[in-house]
């Protein structure tokens, strides 16, 4: 491996880690607050990508406006899931998970009916790029994803640590009943967590749309990756999810570059299995959830 290829792979891995962190953190947040494993999370990512397909590639709305609309749209989808599925099934431990599988199938079909099964092509919003050295390039399109991940996740971290809502959210994650007894609205916190979690997946989809050729089934590999990350990071740990996303992003990108993509996927799944067997609380598992 040459030095240029090595550096370029580091750049690629940083990008991969960024968008996976956005998705995995949302999944962990939803699980932490509501106790639901959202199988439809990959489809929320897909919905964000299709928002950009429709608005930016279709209607010609400026890229970042489309991304913001996509973020809000997917956040609202999250609210629909909270109202329609997770709230009525709150006392049924596997119920939310099963209902989210049903929702996943519906969203896939809606995408197929609305756009067709073919790959969409989204033109890049900019041709600009940073050239670090000969053969080591970071396109602006990828830079946006990295900046969004760093910016949004830091904002979320401050929100959870400093604001009153954040405290309520973490309190609900730790002990729902006790939080309710202190006068915190479980419904309100669940709504907030679901909106934020879904919107993070949506923004990841919207920003990566020009880079990945959206299809209705693009959520499938993403949810598998997200599960690997949250298991490796420790289910319920936000910091763990970020660290595991970085770890996974680097391992996956390097194995893909040196060997091939299938082997990289096998390595990722084996990594998760080993963590599940040896330390089910995850490598960075915290005792408190979220």
């Amino acid at each position: 491996m040459t030095a240029e290829l090595f550096l370029q792979t580091i750049v690629n891995a940083t990008y991969a880690a960024s968008y996976m962190a956005l998705i995995a953190v949302g999944l962990v947040l939803i699980f932490g607050v509501m106790g639901v494993v959202n199988f439809a999370h990959g489809e929320l990512y897909m919905a964000g990508a299709y928002a950009v397909v429709a608005l930016y590639a279709g209607l010609g709305i400026p890229f970042f406006v489309a991304v913001v609309i996509g973020l809000i749209f997917v956040g609202l989808l999250g609210l629909i899931m909270e109202y329609g599925l997770f709230r009525p099934l709150r006392d049924n431990p596997l119920g939310g998970l099963i209902a989210s599988i049903g929702f996943l199938l519906i969203m896939q079909t809606v995408a197929v009916l609305g756009f067709g099964v073919h790959m969409e092509h989204v033109p890049p919003s900019t041709q600009e790029k940073i050239v670090f050295a000969d053969g080591v390039v970071l396109t602006y399109q990828r830079l946006y994803v990295i900046l969004a991940a760093v910016g949004l996740l830091s904002a979320l971290w401050f929100f959870l640590r400093k604001s009153k809502f954040g405290w309520a959210l973490r309190a609900c994650a730790q002990d729902r009943e006790a939080a309710a007894l202190q006068g915190m609205s479980i419904n309100h916190t669940a709504r907030l967590a679901m909106f934020i979690g879904a919107a993070l997946a949506g923004v990841a989809g919207a920003l990566t749309a020009p880079l990945v050729s959206p299809t209705p089934y693009m959520g499938h590999p993403v949810i598998i990756t997200a599960f690997i990350i949250i298991i490796v990071g420790g289910v319920g740990s936000l910091e763990g999810a970020v660290l595991a996303a970085v770890l996974y992003g680097f391992v996956n990108t390097f194995v893909t570059t040196i060997y091939d993509g299938t082997l990289a996927n096998i390595v990722g799944l084996l990594l998760m299995l080993i963590v599940l067997i040896v330390k089910p609380t995850g490598l960075f598992g915290a005792k408190e959830r979220a």
């Binding site: 099963i98 199938l105 197929v112 096998i266 599940l276």
Partner: protein, 338 residues
């Protein structure tokens, strides 16, 4: 009341004869494409019933369809590469699926609940990726899978040709019926009762000396064997297998059959798979909107988890009670007033 018992035994026998007759006549009332679906339906009945045996211990696996695929690949390769007669290859395929479950139970049964679900999913995906892997294309055929799998040998003496879906349907019906009897007996045996005990009273079962790990493993291996058998029946019928046929989407359908039907009774998952297949084939094919299938399944899944959390099977005692109530009322009404 011996009289009552005899009459109930009689009605069971009558019901059994009627069901058998209906199952024998059924394919002759259908079109060719419907006959082909019927064969797959019978195979799916075995698949979902074997899945239920595992859920008895309280664990929900996402690897079941991949294990079915192990039976399919195993049987296909044994017959094709080694030239083993197909019926023996089928048993070999099923045994391979059981063996794989045996090996997988060591890592997987260290986990429970959601972790088992995800762990089994990961294990299944690893197997699927190995099938797809370019380094092993010489054996598994990569993403395109295995083609030209030898078909089930014809019985020349009786001139039974298994290329005809009706004959293959009868073959599947016999194999599946025998398998269901074994699964049913297993559930009703001491072993099956232990499975229930592990599900509901894990710690208590352990404290009275039940080796829960070994029983979980046993349930997993038995259910894998029959899933593998279903896969073998599938492989030699369709003649080709590929990794995508056994992906997580197919697993989701098995899950939906089991959940919509309900898993508390032996017949629940069978009701689920039969009802949904009929709904799927009749409604969607009739309307010509095949791509709506996932949406229909998704909507049914959501509606059933919201409004019928114990599955279709929970309707059966209600219907039975309703009929009995009407009979009772009629009997009361017909009684002469004193």
């Amino acid at each position: 009341m011996p009289e009552r018992a005899a009459s109930s035994g009689l009605s069971w026998a009558l019901g059994f004869v009627l069901l058998t007759a209906a199952l024998i006549v059924l394919p002759h009332l259908l079109s060719l494409s419907q006959q082909e679906i019927l064969v797959l339906l019978v195979i799916n009945v075995l698949l979902v019933s074997s899945y239920r045996l595992l859920t008895l211990t309280g664990e929900w696996s996402l690897a079941h369809v991949v294990i079915m695929g192990v039976g399919a690949y195993g049987s296909a390769l044994t017959a094709k590469l080694l030239g083993v007669p197909v019926p023996l290859a089928m048993l070999a395929g099923a045994a391979m699926a059981g063996l794989l479950a045996f090996l997988l139970s060591f890592p997987l049964f260290r986990m429970k609940g959601f972790y088992f679900l995800i762990g089994s999913f990961a294990a299944g995906e690893v197997i699927r990726l190995i099938w797809k892997w370019s380094e092993l294309t010489w054996l598994f055929g990569g993403p395109k899978g295995i083609k030209l799998i030898p078909p089930f040998p014809d019985i020349e003496m009786l001139s039974i040709d298994f290329y005809n879906p009706v004959n293959y349907y009868y073959l599947c019906l016999i194999v599946v019926a025998i398998s269901l009897v074994i699964l049913y007996r297993a559930e009703r045996s001491r072993i099956g009762l232990t499975f229930h005990a592990i599900h509901w009273q894990d710690k208590l079962a352990q404290s009275v000396g039940v080796d829960t790990f070994r029983y979980r493993m046993l349930a997993f291996v038995i259910s894998a064997f029959f899933a593998g058998l279903a896969g073998a029946l599938y492989a030699h019928y369709v003649g080709t297998v590929n990794p995508n046929r056994f992906d997580v989407e197919e697993m989701v359908y098995v899950l939906i059959w089991a959940i919509v039907g309900g898993t508390a009774t032996f017949y629940g998952p069978i009701i689920g798979v039969v009802t949904l297949t009929i709904l799927n084939e009749v409604v969607l094919r009739a309307l010509g909107v095949d791509e709506m299938r996932p949406m229909l399944y998704g909507a049914i899944l959501i509606v059933s988890i919201l409004f019928l959390p114990n599955g279709l099977e929970s309707l059966v005692p209600r219907i039975r009670g309703w009929i009995a109530g009407r009979k009772h009322k009629r009997a009361v009404a017909e009684q002469p007033a004193e």
